[in-house]
Amino acid sequence: MTEHHDTSPETGRQRIVLDTAPSLGGLYAKAAGSTLVRGASTGIRRALKGAPLPRPGKRSPGGPDLGLPPVELVASGLAVDAEGHEAFCRVVGARPRSSPSGRTEAFSGYLHAMAFPVAMALLTRDDFPLPTVGLVHLANTVEHAAPVFVGETLEAVVRAEDLRPHRAGAAFDVVVELRRPPADGDTAPGAPGTPWNRPVWTGRSVYLARGVDVGTAAESERPAFVPPVPTARWQLGSGTGREYAAVSGDVNPIHLSAASARALGMKGAIAHGMYTASRALAMLDAPAPLRWEVEFGAPLLLPASPAVAVERDGRGSDLHDGTVTVWDAKRKRPYAVLRLHR
């Protein structure tokens, strides 16, 4: 992958445009897939060879003045592929919505997966100061501002920001913005205020680098988890991580098998956070525009049959607020809580 650089007039960040010509848009997923694999393996190499994973209590070599690279990665030509979208929806149990004109509304969780290789490309850059493998996904907030349809091609801009202390290490955000490309008649590309300049989908993923010391986190009391009355249960087989990896491209070894997960210090394979989030979101089954946020708790060790509770004030376009809680019924620990507003 080649890159060319300039500076974003809006953010002051160095724009790194991933070299994917729009005419190759349909092939982007494939290219991004190999980028991802390479990125992931770089991360593993770094984790296994370069240095041991940071451990809690140990000061990382960079010390408190670790900085996130002042760059943003830009990838255009991300196609919402019909087959990939259908496969993703099947795995997470999402019911694709079709408009009368035959257009299918893209599932919000799929858009995250579609842009994920770009985020991985950022996290696996040589100037990225934190190890990719071993990052803990803490939370996600998504502003899905307008419906996106299968067959559309979007541009992704990805940046990392807000490195901050966390009680178990250092936390930071990866922000992904998806925009429609300018249509004929649009004013200058990139000009603030033009319709296409507003992201149709913005995702903010909060990650934790365990044991990395960037200062002392403010003490925060987490409220005790009170399990709601269950309304459902999921049956997650040991292959859940592999199934989701196949449709999302997220081949992080901690999700793929018990053996590969143990090699990275986990007790066994755990479900992808975004699998859990997508499946929870699918249960609410609400059309865009919408806003949702998910907070992850204990790792969801596979296989599992977590208890689930769905609370919502309406159905479909009549839904305004909804919550899905996924938890371990035996230990009474939350795996994830997803809230949706629209």
Partner: protein
């Protein structure tokens, strides 16, 4: 032609006004003994079971060679090749092969819905007589190929060229070849019916003791009914089975109390639901003959009970707003109100025992002023049911529950009992049936018997 033109039926074409006032009567019933799944009926298909129930009814009511207006039946667990299960069963029976068959499916309320369908056809003047029934066999459940193999096979079917066919086949993975048994869980929640009921059980605070009492009564009452010969003209032996094999006449509170809870074990409350106070998977078939008064009189058949009215309700169980099996609690008050009746006017109440707790939860809801006000919109509670009027010959906990067959088992049993009481007490006697069903549905019916014929 809207009505039958069989030479044996001499009824004249009737006008709409006249036809709308015709009554539909239960005149005979029959079922196979019910057997626990995987037992004596393990190798019997649903078609064989339903045909057996029909044949027993045909023999009892003298219907050989008769062309009926319709036979309606159905099965919850049905193989794709059994799409015309009822028509195929008719063709295998002694009925005139010109008798149409209708397949119906409304989960455990299938037998109730077929009864409603046949009764309504009669009341509308479309037919003079018909059979309603249902059948299920968890032993004959369809096994299907997994989603992966299904997709490959469909793609293979669409492929024209050899290359396309090979491409389709190349997508096949070893794991795709594993067969898939039918799921018994609610599709939208992933919870089994027992787990759903356990949540309702906890919400209503139903005790283990109360549930075991319902189970004990059910077994003892069904055993007494068998002993007294009550089922002699309601059941035809099948495959050497002469009684319901789930029946435990000697069960007791001690025996039931020794069983371990199986549902609700991960809830915060004490689990109370056991294999003893839950129905087992069961195989069996049942059918009732419904006709006009004239049709029955021509054949010397008794008018056991009039099918007065039906109501079906459905509740939003998906997000836990209501219990999965609570729909009958909503359906019955609507049905009673429509017919100018109250629960106190009902002489006999039949509540299908999906679980003992289902019966208790419905009874508790009808007595609960808050539930009746907030959920049913009633100023007064529906009221209490005297246990001496409830499931007087036992119900599904003892007999078993072949899903689609339960409705017509209860219709036949209740119709016969109502008639006996109407004659003995020389007054009209009214009965209410309640059957809960998957998907948060519930069907209820009113039957009434009169002393004369």
């Amino acid at each position: 032609m809207s009505s039958e033109s069989h030479p044996a039926t001499t009824s004249q074409p009737t006008g709409p006004q006249e036809r709308s006032q015709r009554a539909a009567w239960v005149v005979a019933g029959n079922r196979t003994p019910f057997a626990r799944s995987g037992g004596q009926y393990a190798s019997a298909s649903v078609q064989e079971l339903f045909t057996a129930a029909l044949e027993g009814l045909i023999a009892r009511a003298g219907l050989a060679g008769e062309r009926l207006g319709a036979v309606a039946g159905g099965a919850v667990l049905k193989q794709p090749r059994s799409f015309n299960l009822v028509r195929e069963s008719v063709l295998g029976s002694a009925l005139d092969p010109q008798t149409p068959g209708i397949d119906v499916q409304q989960a455990c309320a299938t037998g109730m819905e077929t009864t409603s369908l046949i009764a309504n056809k009669i009341r509308c003047g479309q037919i003079e007589a018909g059979i309603a029934g249902g059948v299920d066999s968890a032993s004959d459940a369809p096994i299907v190929v997994g989603e992966g193999l299904r997709r490959v096979l469909l793609q293979l079917n669409r492929a024209r060229s050899t290359a396309d066919k090979l491409k389709a086949l190349s997508k096949l993975r070893p794991g795709d070849l594993a067969p898939v048994a039918p799921g018994v869980n609610e599709p939208r929640t992933g919870l089994s019916m027992g787990e759903h009921q356990a949540i309702t059980t906890a919400a209503w605070g139903l005790t283990r003791q109360a549930q075991d009492e319902i189970a004990e009564f059910s077994h003892h009452r069904l055993a007494e009914a068998w002993e007294s010969g009550f089922f002699d003209d309601l059941v035809t032996p099948f495959r050497g089975v002469t009684r319901d094999t789930n029946l435990r006449p000697d069960t007791s509170m001690e025996k039931l109390g020794g069983l371990s809870p199986v549902f609700g074990t991960s809830l915060d409350t004490e689990p109370t639901m056991t294999a003893g106070n839950s129905t087992p998977l069961t195989d069996g078939a049942s059918a009732v003959l419904i006709a006009t008064q004239e049709w029955a009189a021509e054949r010397g058949l008794p008018l056991l009970a009039e099918v007065l009215d039906f109501e079906t309700a459905a509740v939003d169980f998906v997000d836990g707003h209501e219990g999965l099996l609570m729909a009958p609690a909503y359906a019955a008050p609507r049905l009673l109100a429509r017919n100018g009746l109250t629960l106190q006017d009902i002489d006999l109440v039949e509540i299908h025992e999906a679980f003992a707790a289902t019966v208790l939860a419905i009874l508790a809801a009808w007595e609960d002023a808050e539930f009746c006000r907030d959920r049913l919109g009633l100023e007064q509670p529906v009221g209490a049911v005297d246990r001496r009027r409830l499931n007087v010959h036992g119900s599904s906990l003892a007999a078993g529950h072949p899903f689609a067959a339960t409705g017509t088992r209860i219709v036949a049993t209740l119709a016969k009992e109502l008639k006996a009481r109407a004659v003995a007490e020389d007054r009209p006697v009214t009965g209410l049936i309640s059957v809960c069903a998957a998907g948060g549905q519930g069907a209820v019916a009113l039957l009434r018997a009169y002393p004369g014929n």
